[in-house]
Structure formats: structure tokens, C-alpha cells
């Protein structure tokens, strides 16, 4: 076991990816609290998948991948925020339509593109091959997300608790919701490098889900979510190194195990009481 740690910390590839992984863990832990509070789990699935269309478009036109995908994901998230207001379509149907449509568009564009795209990496993540430019992009996105969160978390929480009273207290509920959806779009893109398009939703839902059973307030929930997220990412990355598994799926699996443990202990505790 000690050997594993020593080898892990001496592996340049692992060291290179450790910091971005932990950064992503902090961001997703924070945002997952809001995703759960506003019941936006399906939105995170939709937005992360729709980024494939952005990536496809970028690879076809030779644009930089991450910035194009970011723009596209934010656009889709904002569209989803505005769509339910136009009567006749529910939010989950809207998410489903945009999700399937943009996924289809993405695959078609990538298959016709002449440039080589690592589709498996896009779908399941490739944090171990992160470039310096991508690192810079991750830090920039993380800074934007965490700053917005710090400024708006209380307002978002208040809206999730009781939107009508929040509006009557003078909060710009509509604008704050748009901001939340946009920031969720940014977070999804941040995760795509680590967990890929398909597993991103796991990172954005699981940390707060583990914490939800134990937290009693917003700050308590956030701290627990952070703890679970960092623990899951650490265990996942270590396991991926030891077993030679891809890092993204290993982290999501570790978080799933933590969730089951958290749920089981909470269930036992309630039974004993």
C-alpha cells in the first residue's frame, strides 16, 4: 500500500493530473449542491451531452475545442432556462430534445470531419493527457464558477427554498436562474476533460447526494460535499493508477461507492434510532 503511494506520487503523469482533478473536485462539490437544490440533475446530463455538438462543430471548422464547447454548452443551458417559459413544452422534454439533437449533430459532424478526434476521450474523459493550455482554461473556468458561486450561492439557495418569497424580497429571480444555468453549463465543460461527456453528470450530482443525508444547513452541506468529492477523486485516481483503469470512470465509481456507504450508514442509523 505504501509502495503504491510512493509510486503514485513519483509518477509525473499522475502528478500532472492530480491538481486539475482536485480543482474539478472542489468546483463540482460546490455546484452539485445547487444542482440538487434546484433539481437540475437532468439538465447537467443534457448540457454535458450537448457539448458534443460544440466539439464537433469546432473540429469541423478547426476552432479551439474547449472554448467552442464552452460557448455551446452555456448557450444550450440558457436555451433550456428560457424554453419552459414558452408554453407547451416541459423542461425535461426540452432537455431531452436538445440532448438527443445535439448529440446526433455532434457525432455526425465528428464523423465527417477530416481531423483526428479522440472520441473515446471525449466520451469518457482523458485527464491524464491534459495539456498546458487546457490547464489554463480549467483554472479560468474554475475561477469564474467559484466567484459566481460565492456571490450568488445564498440567493440561489433562497430561490430553491421558496422562489415566490425570494421574488417578493426583491431578488431578481429570473436573472439569477439564468446565471445558475449558465454556470452549470460552464461546470459541465470543466468536467468533460476529467470524466468525459457521459460521466460528467456523475461528478455534478454525486458529491452533494452523498452529503444530502447528513447536512443540516447550506454551509454544512457544502463542506460535506467537498469532503466526499475530494475523497472520491483521491480514491478514484489512486485506484486508476493501481489497476490501470481510466481515471474518469474510476472517480465516478469511487463516488458511487461513497454514496452507497453514506446511504447505508444513514439507513442503519435511522433503524437503530
Amino acid at each position: 500500500m505504501t509502495d503504491l503511494f510512493i509510486h503514485f506520487f513519483h509518477s509525473p503523469v499522475m502528478m500532472e493530473s492530480l491538481l486539475p482533478t482536485l480543482l474539478i473536485a472542489v468546483v463540482t462539490a460546490t455546484m452539485s449542491v445547487m444542482v440538487l437544490a434546484h433539481r437540475l440533475s437532468f439538465l447537467t446530463v443534457g448540457v454535458s451531452h450537448s457539448s458534443l455538438a460544440g466539439l464537433g462543430l469546432a473540429s469541423l471548422l478547426g476552432l479551439p475545442l474547449l472554448p467552442s464547447a464552452t460557448g455551446f454548452a452555456v448557450l444550450i443551458a440558457l436555451l433550456l432556462a428560457l424554453m419552459p417559459q414558452k408554453k407547451g413544452i416541459s423542461e425535461d422534454a426540452g432537455t431531452g430534445i436538445l440532448f438527443a439533437g445535439s448529440m446526433a449533430l455532434g457525432i455526425t459532424l465528428i464523423s465527417t470531419s477530416t481531423s483526428q478526434v479522440n472520441l473515446f476521450g471525449l466520451l469518457f474523459g482523458s485527464i491524464l493527457t491534459i495539456s498546458a493550455t487546457e490547464q489554463l482554461w480549467l483554472w479560468l473556468l474554475a475561477a469564474i464558477i467559484l466567484t459566481s458561486c460565492l456571490l450568488a450561492c445564498r440567493s440561489w439557495w433562497s430561490i430553491a427554498f421558496d422562489a415566490t418569497t425570494a421574488a417578493a424580497n426583491g431578488l431578481p429571480v429570473h436573472g439569477l436562474r439564468l446565471l445558475l444555468y449558465g454556470i452549470i453549463g460552464l461546470t459541465a465543460i470543466l468536467c468533460v476533460k476529467l470524466a468525459g461527456i457521459i460521466l460528467t453528470a456523475g461528478l455534478m450530482i454525486l458529491p452533494a447526494s452523498c452529503a444530502w443525508l447528513w447536512g443540516r444547513s447550506l454551509s454544512g452541506l457544502w463542506l460535506l460535499s467537498l469532503l466526499f468529492s475530494l475523497l472520491g477523486s483521491g480514491i478514484g485516481l489512486l485506484t486508476s493508477y493501481a489497476m490501470d483503469w481510466p481515471a474518469g470512470p474510476a472517480i465516478v465509481l469511487a463516488l458511487c461507492v461513497l454514496f452507497i456507504a453514506s446511504w447505508g450508514i444513514s439507513w442503519l442509523k435511522n433503524r437503530v434510532r
Binding site: R154, S155, F161, T165, A167, A168, N169, G170, R216, L221
Partner: protein, 264 residues
């Protein structure tokens, strides 16, 4: 007479298909307790929402604290208003302590450094008003419906509003708690000069506490001050021909047998 806290000038509102409110005018001075009664779908909640700036009237305007309520000054004016709406989603999902729920009613809540500990005294005072101070640290999700309603009321009171808008605040409360609530509201009017508008369906329960009662069904059919009665034909035009009036308390507004004179 003091300048009114609230002046509603001839407002009308429709939801696109049908007219909900028509030609409503109303003024309210500090310390006045107004009850609004009317049948289901009469527009009672809509009127409260219009005053709280949640919806905009199609015509007419609302003056709050001497200023016309507009989009740009809405946030500043609403800081002095307490608001309690009817709750449809009964089961709370978010993990919250009671003190955090009340803290949400303070204007500084958006600042992440504001904590319930820093405002402990104010929160306790608001909870004391509704007899919930013992639950300061309790998990809001574990409270009963009536207890949650009292915590929500404490949230509406914590910033000591000058105008309080309450939509069926007694809905989840037993009759003893209802009486306590009405007595508390009366005290706020008399001691702190708070103006209150309360929507309630039970005119008999509120009539001995309020200063006046407005009968609303799309427009204000009648506005009775304390000691006045509401004529039979008003009741019938609001609720239909089949209503039978039973006078059970001579002191209560609207309950005494009609004498036929109209106030407005």
C-alpha cells in the same frame, strides 16, 4: 391624517384570458389592519402579489410609502414589506435549520458571511413573536405544518416591515393558534404601527381583530369599517343566491343583520 403607506389607484389585471381584478382602489394608513375576504378565484392572492410587485397591473398604479412602485425601485421599496404567500409545496426538501430560514428574511442574507449567530437576537425576537424560539436550532424539515407556518411568519417579521402582506396565514393553524396569530397581528398594528393586509376566508374569525374588511370578487364589492355591517346583497353578489347569513356576534364586522347602508 398621515400619508397612506399604500395607495392603490384604479388597478386592473387580467391573465391574458380573463379579467381577474377590475378597478381596484384602496388606501392603507400605518397601523391599519385590513382583512380581505372573497370566494375562491376572486383575485385575493393576485391582489397581494400585485402589491408585492410579483406581477404588474395592466392599468392603474400602486404607491408604496409615497412612491410609485416601478421595476427600478421595487427592490428598495420591498425591503420594508413582509410577505407570506400560500404554500403549495408542503414538504420542504432543503436541509435548513429554523434559524437559517428566519435569517433569509434579513436583507443582508445574500452576503455569505452573514450567519444566524450574528443576528441571534433579532431572529430569536421574531421567533418569540410566533412562540417558536425553542426551535432555533431545530431541523426545519422535521417540524409540523403549523410549526413551519409559524417559522415562515417569523421570517416575514424579522426585518420589522412597515407593511405586512399575508395570504391565508392561518391555513395550517389550529383555532387556538389562529387566535394567537390574530392577537399578535393586532399588537403589531397598535404598538409598532405596522399596516397589515390579510387574505382570509373566515370572516367570523378575523372580524373582531381587523379595522376593516374588504369584500373582493374581481372588484371590491364593499369595504366595511369596524362597527359597520355588510349588506345581504353584497354577500349574494359575491357568493351566489344560495348563501344564508347567520348573525352570531353583534360586534363583528359583516356578521350583524344588514342595515342596508353601503360605505363606498
Amino acid at each position: 391624517m398621515n400619508q397612506p403607506l399604500l395607495a392603490i389607484h384604479d388597478i386592473s389585471f387580467s391573465n391574458g384570458k380573463q379579467t381577474i381584478l377590475e378597478h381596484i382602489s384602496l388606501t392603507l394608513e400605518a397601523g391599519h389592519f385590513l382583512g380581505i375576504v372573497g370566494p375562491n378565484g376572486a383575485g385575493k392572492s393576485t391582489l397581494i402579489n400585485l402589491i408585492a410587485g410579483l406581477q404588474q397591473p395592466d392599468q392603474g398604479h400602486i404607491d408604496l410609502f409615497g412612491q410609485c412602485l416601478k421595476r427600478f425601485n421595487r427592490r428598495r421599496l420591498l425591503k420594508k414589506v413582509g410577505f407570506l404567500h400560500q404554500l403549495h409545496d408542503q414538504q420542504p426538501r432543503l436541509p435548513m435549520r429554523v434559524c437559517d430560514v428566519v435569517l433569509m428574511g434579513l436583507p443582508g442574507y445574500a452576503n455569505p458571511l452573514t450567519s444566524a449567530g450574528k443576528h441571534r437576537q433579532r431572529i430569536l425576537q421574531a421567533l418569540r413573536h410566533t412562540d417558536m424560539e425553542h426551535a432555533f436550532d431545530a431541523d426545519y424539515r422535521n417540524l409540523s405544518g403549523g410549526q413551519r407556518q409559524r417559522v415562515r411568519l417569523a421570517r416575514a417579521l424579522v426585518h420589522q416591515p412597515k407593511l405586512l402582506l399575508l395570504d391565508e396565514p392561518s391555513a395550517a393553524l389550529d383555532s387556538k393558534r389562529q387566535e394567537k396569530l390574530y392577537a399578535l397581528l393586532r399588537r403589531l398594528c397598535d404598538e409598532q404601527g405596522t399596516a397589515i393586509i390579510m387574505v382570509d376566508h373566515d370572516i367570523a374569525a378575523i372580524s373582531s381583530h381587523v379595522d376593516s374588511v374588504a369584500c373582493l370578487n374581481r372588484h371590491i364589492h364593499h369595504h366595511a369599517r369596524k362597527g359597520e355591517s355588510i349588506p345581504d346583497h353584497i354577500w349574494q353578489s359575491m357568493y351566489g343566491e344560495h348563501i344564508q347569513l347567520m348573525a352570531h356576534d353583534a360586534a363583528c364586522i359583516g356578521c350583524a343583520p344588514a342595515t342596508g347602508h353601503s360605505h363606498d
